[in-house]
């Protein structure tokens, strides 16, 4: 992988000031390492909680490790620890290269980095000591929310500065997604964490909470993820995106329809029906938009299918895109009210959540980690075999988890429909739940392989010839 020498726009350039390197490599590396650390915290939480489902929770009766609390640690660390840190790494790498300007301030970058890790530690502590907030995916304790709001704003200011410095020049696709997402993420966080908490109860509050859950995925994770794809895929394949018009359709379609989806998390609830129907229609509309994006990316790959074998980043990216198309197709189906009757509240939804969060965004993140790590440590990956193990273990794990839980969700839905006793559902689910934990172990094993490999790669001595090649991508520190 290391031998597609950088074709990233602007690579190798120093910023105007002459002294300051364009990309702050230490920050990129820091965010990647932090992302992996929190990923392990999140994975451990998921694994522990999954054992509750077959009554083998390893720490019963310990208040600080109450399974319900551990579940919230799991989901929050995945979003704010793993994904957010990873995305900052990707953006700190790509934004300066695309705009030609470095981030606003390296000091601010470090402040954001360390502050954010401290905040995450407090979030874990706060949730485990029983201070969770009742906003799904915003369980970060109420007294930490203001800090998060300020920190997100700091991070955004730092990254939006180079974009604003382009002074009205048309931007590359990636930056459309990033810049819009900056605004969305800040507004969404403020909306979701304060309005239902203090002002609007019941159905109105639930409508807002629904928007929050969905916007966190749809207006933070998704646009940043796609932005990174629009950056990394063409630069690794060394060819432009197939159709600029489709890029436009994809972005503007997503920007318009995605924010309208949120209430589909509460269908058949007491939220007014016009809102629920609106959410259903716009969810289907998103699926149409997504199809254009997928077509665009697969056409970009045309004639170069072999890179799926030779380049692991490309393989991760396109695997993620297949998962993305699957989840979005699923959305269009499962949002239909008759389907909702069966699958809502079941493990089908959990399957869907893992597919989108990990099989899509996790794959993209692992892909660009695989791409960036050798450049950051200035050494080629130590072992091709270990990269393959990482890919196959993780991919096998997440896809089997998805299939198991989807099947289980249908079974649960029909058992409820048939008015079978609740215990029947539990008894018949347990074999699936055991298997789910096993698939989780596969994911963890893959990630352990990757973490070890990254560590071993960073430690190995560098042959001179390789130094040349890898460093070609990046100017040596001035």
């Amino acid at each position: 992988m290391t031998n597609h020498v950088s074709t990233h726009p602007g690579s190798g350039a120093l910023s105007g000031a002459g002294e300051r390197p364009l990309v702050n490599l230490a920050l990129v590396k820091g965010h990647i390492v932090a992302s992996l650390v929190w990923f392990f915290v999140g994975l451990t939480g998921g694994l522990l909680f999954s054992m509750q489902f077959f009554r083998h929770y390893p720490f019963p009766g310990i208040e600080l490790l109450s399974p319900g609390r551990v579940r919230m640690v799991h989901t929050n660390m995945m979003a704010y620890g793993f994904i957010l840190n990873a995305f900052f790494a990707g953006m700190l790498w790509s934004i300066p290269r695309l705009t030609g300007f470095p981030i606003l301030s390296d000091k601010l970058g470090r402040l954001f980095f360390w502050g954010w890790q401290v905040i995450l530690a407090f979030v874990v502590g706060g949730i485990l000591t029983g201070h969770a907030q009742a906003v799904e995916w915003g369980e970060t304790p109420v007294f930490i929310d203001p800090f998060i709001s300020v920190w997100v704003l700091l991070g955004v200011v730092n990254l939006v500065a180079p974009i604003l410095k382009t002074r009205g020049r048309p931007l590359y696709v990636t930056l459309w997604y990033f810049s819009a997402s900056f605004v969305w993420t800040v507004l969404n966080y403020l909306m979701g964490n304060y309005i239902p908490q203090f002002f609007v109860p019941g159905a109105g509050g639930a409508a807002i909470a629904g928007l929050f859950i969905h916007d966190l995925v749809g207006l933070f994770v998704t646009p940043i993820g796609w932005g990174l794809m629009y950056y990394f895929v063409p630069s690794i394949l060394n060819r432009p995106i197939w159709s600029h018009a489709l890029s436009l359709v994809g972005f503007w379609g997503l920007a318009f329809f995605y924010p309208l989806n949120g209430v589909h998390h509460f269908l058949y609830s007491t939220i007014p029906m016009y809102v629920q129907y609106g959410a259903v229609v716009s969810t289907v509309a998103v699926e149409l938009v997504v199809t254009t994006v997928i077509v665009n990316f697969f056409m970009t790959l045309r004639g170069m299918g072999r890179t799926l074998v030779t380049s692991l980043p490309i393989r991760w990216f396109y695997t993620g895109m297949v998962a993305y198309f699957t989840t979005c197709l699923q959305c269009a189906v499962q949002v239909q009210l008759p389907v909702q009757q069966i699958i809502h509240f079941t493990d089908w939804v959990v399957a869907h959540a893992h597919l989108v969060m990990f099989a899509v965004f996790g794959s993209w993140i692992m892909g660009f980690f695989t791409e960036l790590w050798p450049r950051l440590v200035r050494r080629p990956w130590k072992s091709r075999a270990l990269l393959e193990w990482h890919y196959w273990l993780t991919t096998l794990g997440i896809w089997t988890m998805f299939l198991t839980l989807t099947a289980l969700g249908l079974q649960q839905g029909y058992l409820w429909r048939g008015l079978n006793p609740w215990e029947d559902m539990l008894r018949s689910s347990i074999p699936f739940w055991v298997f789910r934990t096993f698939t989780g172990v596969l994911i963890i094993a893959g990630t352990v392989v990757f973490a070890y490999h990254a560590w071993a790669t960073a430690r190995q001595p560098v042959p001179a010839a390789v130094t040349e090649r890898v460093e070609g991508a990046e100017p040596a520190a001035p």
Binding site: F53, R71, P201, L248, F251, P272, F345
Partner: protein, 234 residues
């Protein structure tokens, strides 16, 4: 057609970033809020005017703990005091419900589907969530265990106490976690000298689940029904 203007930061930040987001909030969130403006939010004090019979039952069953954690309402119990304790218990119960992530395994609304009505009870309506204890709303998106918005009176206080202490002791197939920290030991002159009884959080969470849906349950004998509760009762 020249679309270059769509590619500038002003358009991506302004139109899609602010514009579309605000449009979505107005359409999807402000709409419901405005439509529900005539159903004012009830405070816990208003809710607690109707003390549920199970709260009196807790006083009878666990008098020492009740008095220790909430206060002594006298004999016969003073109604004003009971209302005040009830409000306290509901607030704390909801706090526990949130802290322990109960809402990630239990929902709090009945959908308008035949099987749910048969299993849980009447379909939810908007007004029953317009109160301080649904701030933030606890609708939930997952049912590992059953919906709880019609839980009032389905089980006895004793059942709940045993169930929170060890769900499998009551429902052998349960995968609900144990919540042993809702309990404490009390010295008694029998049964090896100790008995396990709910502590403050235990009393509060039992009160809270017994309250959920108390407004659709027929009033127990001898318990006064206020006008507003009678109106809500369907």
């Amino acid at each position: 057609m020249n679309t270059r203007w769509l590619e500038r930061a002003s358009a991506t930040l302004g139109i899609s970033g602010f514009g579309f987001f605000i449009f979505s909030v107005v359409a999807m969130a402000l709409g419901p809020v405005v439509m529900l403006r005539k159903v004012p939010m009830q405070t816990v004090e208003q809710i607690s005017q109707n003390v549920i019979p199970d709260f009196y039952d807790l006083l009878v069953r666990y008098p020492d703990e009740f008095k220790k954690y909430f206060g002594d309402p006298g004999d016969p119990p003073d109604e004003a005091k009971m209302r005040q304790y009830f409000a306290e218990a509901l607030r704390l119960g909801r706090k526990v419900y949130i802290a322990e992530g109960c809402w990630h395994c239990h929902s709090q609304f009945v959908r308008p589907l035949a099987d749910e009505q048969l299993r849980f009870g009447p379909t939810s309506w908007a007004a029953e969530h317009q109160n301080e204890l649904q701030l933030p709303p606890l609708f939930g998106t997952r049912r590992v265990g059953p919906d709880l918005i019609r839980e009032a009176g389905v089980r006895s206080n004793d059942w709940h106490a045993a169930h929170f202490y060890d769900p499998q002791a009551v429902v052998p197939d349960s995968v609900m976690p144990r919540f042993t920290w809702f309990f404490e030991e009390r010295k008694v002159p029998y049964e090896n000298g100790v008995k396990i009884v709910p502590n403050q959080r235990g009393l509060a969470i039992i009160t809270y689940v017994q309250w959920l849906g108390s407004w659709v349950r027929p009033p127990a004998e001898g318990v006064p029904l206020t006008a507003s509760a009678a109106e809500d009762y369907r």
